[in-house]
């Protein structure tokens, strides 16, 4: 296990190095001059020269890359042009909001997706199966930004059931202030027994999480259905039946257990997809997280912020893949850890 982790960590580090090189090249090579981006379109030649010197842009490319690497590793991710604050700090401040949204959405997606997929597999080629197929392909085809707006129109405007945007109602920070421990409002409110704020935070989570969950839920449902159909036809499932296990045990314990490895793989991929999905959901729901920050940075060509977010996104992606591999190995004893 240790050796497996070490090897995977080494590969991951290599991948990250590649990503940083790619990001670096993109930022240095694609635009005419990063300096212009820093100062603005009305930059004078002497200003450009000064900024280029300050940023080290007059150095050879490999030296620049080396400097960039060491800066990143020592935690100097530069200052955001938009907010004038250190990028790393900005990211740290927003990470919990995105993490909370992502965690709730993915948990919901797995639950809904697996249940729908299993039900569809058990009733394959029935009306219910076709309905679930349409639902899951619909979830996959749904533009998140549009679904978010629709949900707002229905649940906020028409039904008045849920709050529109943000993580908390406008008064909550004053009437029931949350003591920040983890930055995850629901967890913090729960730990400090702040039930009013907890309720508010949960209500605010429902719509964005549902929006973000539509895609992964659809993918997981389709994959679960396909794998479960294969599983239910396998010899060992027949053995389980022959030895008198109930259909419920056969389906949910024996067959589903065997279907988990491929479903996990797909789940990992959709999780990675949802990392960028947060960009759109956070914009629509004005969620003060990384996605919104990233979208702003991309729009304003905020170099240091873009590079920071990109590297962070790649780190997240690599971590997700690493975790999926480890979980995979634990789920399927036939996968060697070598």
């Amino acid at each position: 296990m240790i050796r497996f982790l070490m090897r995977r960590a080494a590969t991951s580090a290599l991948v990250l190095l590649g990503v940083m090189l790619a990001t670096f090249l993109l930022a240095r090579v694609v635009p005419a001059s990063p300096a212009v981006a820093y100062i603005g379109p009305k930059a004078q030649p002497e200003d450009i020269a000064r900024v280029e010197r300050e940023l080290g842009l007059d150095q050879p490319l490999h030296i620049q890359f080396w400097n960039y690497l060491t800066d990143m590793l020592t935690g100097d991710w530069g200052d955001s042009i938009g907010t004038k604050q250190p990028v790393l700090g900005e990211i740290g401040e927003r990470l919990p909001a995105t993490f909370e949204l992502l965690a709730v959405a993915m948990a919901a997606a797995v639950l809904v997706g697996v249940v729908l997929g299993v039900v569809a597999a058990r009733r394959k080629h029935t009306k219910l199966d076709h309905l679930i197929r349409l639902l899951s392909i619909g979830g996959v085809s749904m533009p998140a930004f549009w679904l978010g707006l629709l949900l707002q129109v229905v649940f906020v405007r028409a039904l008045g059931l849920l709050p529109p945007t943000g993580r908390l109602g406008p008064d909550t920070p004053f009437t029931y202030p949350i003591t920040e421990l983890t930055g995850l409002y629901t967890v913090d409110a729960l730990l400090t027994g702040n039930t009013a704020a907890l309720g508010d935070a949960v209500l605010h989570l429902i719509l964005p999480a549902a929006t973000l969950a539509a895609y992964p839920a659809g993918v997981v449902a389709r994959m679960t259905r396909a794998t479960m159909i294969e599983m239910l036809a396998q010899d060992h499932v027949r053995t389980a039946r022959a030895y008198g296990l109930s259909e419920r045990t056969v389906t949910w314990r024996v067959a589903l257990r065997g279907a988990l490895p491929p479903v996990t793989t797909v789940f990992g991929l959709t999780l990675a997809y949802s990392l960028t999905g947060t960009f759109f959901v956070e914009v629509v729901f004005n969620w003060p997280g990384l996605g919104q920050f990233a979208a702003q940075a991309l729009l304003n060509v905020d170099y240091p912020a873009i590079m920071g977010v990109t590297v962070l996104g790649a780190v997240g992606y690599v971590l997700v893949n690493l975790v999926v591999d480890v979980v995979q190995a634990r789920l399927d004893p036939r996968v060697g850890l070598a």
């Binding site: 396998q234 010899d235 060992h236 027949r238 053995t239 389980a240 039946r241 022959a242 030895y243 008198g244 296990l245 109930s246 045990t249 314990r253 024996v254 257990r257 065997g258 988990l260 490895p261 789920l331 399927d332 004893p333 036939r334």
Partner: protein, 305 residues
């Protein structure tokens, strides 16, 4: 003596195909009954029908009564794993690949007795000892064990249900000859100790002759011949049984061509299914389905006049 298992006029159809066309057989308590025939003769489907485990899309009619329970008419789950279990052909795929052997034993034991995890493990260890396997096998995954060991585990698992009938479906086919012998010997010993009945499904006539009390020879979904194992296999009366025995390679036979049965299985609706391949077939064989008489479904048992 009342029958442990009684199958009457069993028919199984999958779409337009009828792989089993009116099979009747019975097994008395503690009896070892062979069901032999070529691949596709319907012997495995017959076994699965007894468990109520036919593949999706298959429909069965007739009567299957097991120890007083109507399997086809009632809920087969009432008998599965309680009165009857099956030892499958392919031990490599018959076990859940992602659960330890111990876990799979626990699943079955706890479903039947509702005992604790610890009690289930203790019982599983006992059962493994009965099939001459060490307790540590419980912590192994199926892919870490050989086919012979897995088949021992399967037999132990079958024992765990304390069944009155064990269906062994080609239980030794996937194994090496020497391992197959050991498994057979084990099955026989346990049968003597526990006294369960065995429905021994195989295409291996030699095995059937060695261990069975009685045999049924199936051809194209029908019983061609039945009787005491030695009687049927030493003095076959149905031309199909004769052809089958003649096709066995023998070490003492002169070198030369291996015997085979000409043609292939037909599922003709009218007449004897074997007529097309039978050396003694007459017109009546193609016109009328031969009734079973004295254990042989043939118009001219014992050879043409």
């Amino acid at each position: 003596m009342s029958d442990l298992l009684s199958v009457e006029d069993l028919e199984v159809s999958i779409g337009a195909v009828r792989p089993v066309r009116g099979v009747s057989l019975r097994v008395a308590p503690g009896e070892i009954v062979g069901v032999v025939g070529e691949t596709g003769c319907g012997k495995t489907l017959t076994g699965l029908a007894v468990l109520g485990l036919l593949p999706p899309g298959a429909r069965a009619s007739g009567r299957v009564v097991l120890g007083g329970d109507d399997v086809l008419g009632g809920d087969p789950r009432a008998v599965r794993g309680r009165k009857v279990t099956m030892v499958f052909q392919n031990p490599g795929t018959a076990f859940d690949p992602v659960t330890t052997i111990g876990g799979q034993f626990a699943r079955v034991l706890r479903a039947h007795t509702g005992c604790s995890r610890r009690a289930a493990r203790a019982r599983a260890a006992e059962l493994l000892t009965a099939v001459e396997l060490p307790e540590r096998v419980l912590d192994n995954y199926p892919h870490q064990l050989s086919g012979g060991m897995l088949q021992r585990c399967m037999i132990a698992l079958a024992l765990s249900c304390e069944p009155s009938l064990v269906i062994a479906d080609e239980a030794t086919t996937a194994l090496d000859v020497t391992v197959a012998r050991q498994i057979l010997r084990l099955l026989l010993r346990l049968q003597r100790e526990h006294g369960f009945g065995v429905m021994f499904v195989t295409h291996n006539l030699a095995e059937a002759r060695d261990i069975c009390d009685r045999v049924y020879v199936l051809y194209a979904g029908r019983v061609a011949e039945e009787g005491m194992a030695h009687a049927v296999l030493d003095r076959p009366r149905h031309p199909y049984t004769r052809a089958l025995l003649a096709a066995l390679p023998r070490l003492d036979a002169p070198r030369g061509r291996l015997a085979s049965i000409p043609g292939s299985v037909s599922h003709a609706e009218v007449g004897c299914s074997f007529a097309e391949r039978c050396p003694d077939a007459k017109d009546v064989c193609r016109a009328e389905t031969p009734p079973a008489h004295d254990g042989v479904a043939c118009h001219f048992p014992g050879g043409a006049p």
